[in-house]
Symmetry: C2
């Protein structure tokens, strides 16, 4: 059997799972302790904040954040109830729903970032030099690009 997992890679995989879980849950704890909503709300607000008009279709949020469809529906539902986003039907596609960030939503995002940033430093960035962070980021970026298949030489 080819393509077996070698020990080095297995160790790296475990380090990835454990390390990420530890860092992320510490960070989420800090946000919660500061009275903020969960990180996924921040991520959605960020995507919206960065987009032209501060608006995106549900399906785009779904695609960018790898969320289940119903999660997007319900997350935006709750965020709308909190006045962080508005939702309106899409002009050129009657199936579509467009979520737009509100001023309150933008304020919350900025406010969360202060805590989030400190927490990232504390639980992640402080472990690395700039050079190391560059290496780490480059290696990890491969997991998001292409996904399942490794880069292949189709020559």
């Amino acid at each position: 059997m080819t393509n077996l997992l070698d020990r080095t890679a297995e160790t790296a995989w475990i380090a990835l799972i454990r390390g990420q879980q530890r860092a992320l849950s510490s960070i989420e704890d800090e946000l919660k302790a500061a009275g903020f909503p969960p990180l996924v709300w921040y991520d959605i607000l960020l995507e919206l904040d960065r987009s032209p008009e501060g608006a995106l279709r549900n399906r785009d949020i779904e695609a960018r954040m790898l969320l289940a469809r119903y999660s997007v529906t319900r997350l935006l539902e709750r965020m709308a109830a909190d006045g962080l986003v508005n939702r309106r039907p899409c002009d050129d596609d009657a199936r579509g729903v467009i979520a737009r960030i509100t001023p309150k939503g933008r304020r919350l995002r900025r406010s969360m970032w202060k805590t989030y940033e400190r927490a990232i430093v504390r639980h992640f960035a402080a472990q690395y030099t700039k050079k190391e962070a560059k290496i780490l980021g480059d290696l990890l970026a491969r997991l998001s690009n292409g996904g399942a298949a490794p880069d292949r030489d189709w020559g």
Copy 2:
């Protein structure tokens, strides 16, 4: 304000979150598609399988896997209902509960590993050379050791 997050580290953080999420959810999907229970069951079975007598106290599972206490209670409850573990009171501490893996549990773990291993290769290991995997693993291991505080020189 000192200790601000620089761009390199921020990029690395995002790569960590995205990359891990992508790889892990692909892997979980493969396990589910093969009809297996979620990965956390595997992790518990592995911890038990490796332990002497194939048994651990709830609190040890909790500590090793960074799970909430009630999660451990309920996970083991369901796993026991499936005949994968037994539970019995702890001899020298009447508060304690000891979970022990059953033969069926050991078989399931081995069986899951076949799928899990292939999936790790596909969605993670295939992206890296052995050298790269070593570097990546070493860098990520820092997140699990020590946790919040960076290694400091108290001289």
